[in-house]
């Protein structure tokens, strides 16, 4: 290991009340892959009130080492203490790559850290891989750089971004985009506690009160998703989507248009501004299939599109297309399924 003269791959582990965010574990799995390809170690860092006990879980997903810092003032999250500790650690160990979840916390923290380090940062990457880069403007060659691939211009194009300055190469990735692998509880790794000191100014932002509710659904774990779009027509009609989902033992998804119309909550939104799903079966009902939606579900094993428009873009990613009125097709599907099982 570490045969090349570059730093390691790092993952920032987001946690709250000693529960690790799913996106962080997905990034540990992706980080493992990148570290292996580069021949370096995968290291993680986790901050909070009581986080030492989380280190073995992080190692089981693929980390070689976990840095942790514990303290009352590190929970709930505030920007400046986290920035200070991460920057201090990055300056000391000089990682090559630094991955953050594109969560509320990650999107607040990563830019602050990047700005302090004068590092490049790319938001919401949908793919990461290692490749060489030739900067045609400065005529410089960069070996083994992180290709940071992301949608841009409202999701209408895909851009590959490269950080050409000194390390770390920083990115954020949304939940559900990278695949989670099975943990290996026999994995061994190192653990190191970080010492830190905060100034009064760094502690000046105080969280007075906090209210959160559990997500009503976690579509990233769903095997079957029945999703409705604007073509469903009304909140009342949306019950039909729920009915089909109930019959098939599926979860309900939605396009942005259906969420914006108020027919269903944001937790159900699939696509670039919602969640990315990869179920065994995705049934898109009355979803025309804007590119932003398709990008969040095109990795599904099988896709059925029910739409009254034979030219709907959703059909370009579907395996099965049923062109017809969903108010007639869905009841038939429920009936067909019930008679088969």
């Amino acid at each position: 290991m570490s045969k090349k003269n570059i730093g390691n791959v790092w993952v920032f582990i987001e946690q709250d009340t000693s529960k690790i965010a799913q996106v962080s574990l997905e990034l540990v799995c992706k980080g493992r892959e990148l570290a292996d390809e580069l021949g370096v170690k995968l290291e993680a860092l986790v901050l909070g009130k009581s986080v030492k006990k989380l280190t073995s879980e992080i190692i089981s997903y693929g980390a070689d080492k976990v840095f942790f810092a514990e303290g009352e003032e590190l929970e709930p999250y505030t920007t400046l203490p986290y920035t200070k500790i991460i920057v201090q650690l990055v300056k000391k160990h000089r990682p090559n790559i630094l991955l953050f979840g594109a969560s509320g916390v990650g999107r607040d923290l990563a830019p602050r850290v990047a700005s302090t380090l004068l590092a490049g940062l790319t938001a919401d990457c949908t793919e990461l891989r290692i490749d060489d880069f030739e900067d045609k403007i400065s005529k410089t060659q960069h070996k083994d750089k992180l290709m940071q691939i992301r949608p841009a211009f409202g999701g209408n194009i895909i851009a590959t971004i490269v950080n050409t300055w000194e390390d770390p190469q920083m990115v954020t990735v949304r939940e559900g985009v990278m695949k989670m692998e099975e943990p290996d509880n026999s994995r061994k790794g190192a653990v190191e506690e970080i010492e830190y000191k905060l100034s009064e100014i760094e502690k000046a932002v105080k969280v007075i009160n906090r209210e959160t509710t559990e997500k009503s659904v976690n579509l990233t774990a769903s095997q079957i998703v029945v999703a409705g779009g604007y073509g469903v027509g009304s909140a009342d009609n949306f019950k039909l989507i729920q009915k089909l989902a109930d019959a098939l033992g599926a979860d309900v998804g939605a396009s942005r248009a259906a969420v914006d119309a108020g027919w269903i909550g944001h937790d159900h939104q699939v696509g670039q501004t919602g969640v990315t799903v990869r179920p065994k079966l995705y049934i898109a009902c009355g979803i025309s299939g804007a590119v932003q939606h398709r990008a969040g579900m095109d990795a599904s094993s099988k896709i059925i599109a029910i739409n009254n428009d034979p030219d709907a873009p959703i059909l370009s990613v579907a395996h099965y297309g049923i062109v017809g009125n969903l108010n007639e097709v869905i009841p038939k599907m429920i009936e067909a399924y019930k008679s088969k099982v």
Partner: protein, 299 residues
Amino acid sequence: MKIILFAKQVPDTQNITGDAMKKDGTVNRGALPAIFNPEDKNALEMALSLKEKYNATIIAATMGPPKAAELLRETLYMGADETFLITDRAFAGADTLATSYALACCAKKIADYDIIMCGRQAIDGDTAQVGPQLAEKLNIPQLSYVLEILKINKKKKTIKVKRAIDGGFEVVEAPLPILLTVPEAANEPRPASAKKIMSFKKAMTGFELQKKHGDAIYEDSELLATEEAKLRKKNLWIQELTAADINADVERVGLKGSPTKVKQIENVVLGGGSLKNIEPSIEGISGLVHELIEDHILG
């Protein structure tokens, strides 16, 4: 109380029409109308509510080409007090780090601010990075995703806000000066005031003034100065700022100041299937359901 609003003029990526995409899948920027970045309008609305409540002064600034003056006129129509257009060829090609550096230089030039506000993110990049990076460059704290300003204590110089977090919200207290980013969910921006449109539609930059008078004014610096003075007197002057005006280090702005480079731009290529058409009849649908059960996709 002094508020600086940073806003951006963006291509309208939310309403991409047929000819906005070229055949090779890239964006035809020219075909997209330039609009006021939606969440920057939410930030302006929040600033205006502070103007009403605390008698704050709002200075609106944007970085962009000469035509971005249109956005600044819009801020005046809604209620901003003063405007700055940060414009210089040196700023072209900036990524979020170089952008936040330039905006920080502008904020330092304006000076003595209590609050800096901007939208959570711009719809052309959706990165949400410039706000936090700008706060870092100014060495002030940041509060992102602010839904509501609950209280400002002018004496103690503190602010209390409600901000969105994943799965809920939190109430936070912080010292001033501070940077706030505002999401769409925070409010409904007010429309432009008809009276203010009448008052400010003739607001312009030096660039626009020269354009209005044609080439003649280039040769008559006295006329130019007189016209500028007239506009300033009526508060119709949109101040242009170059890299030199804001004391920006040219090595840190534009493409030169940007660590990230675009390697390539591609059409969106999506996975997915060889489409099989299913008849919307009970026979067709039964056949499909049967096939999916056989393949263990439906249980």
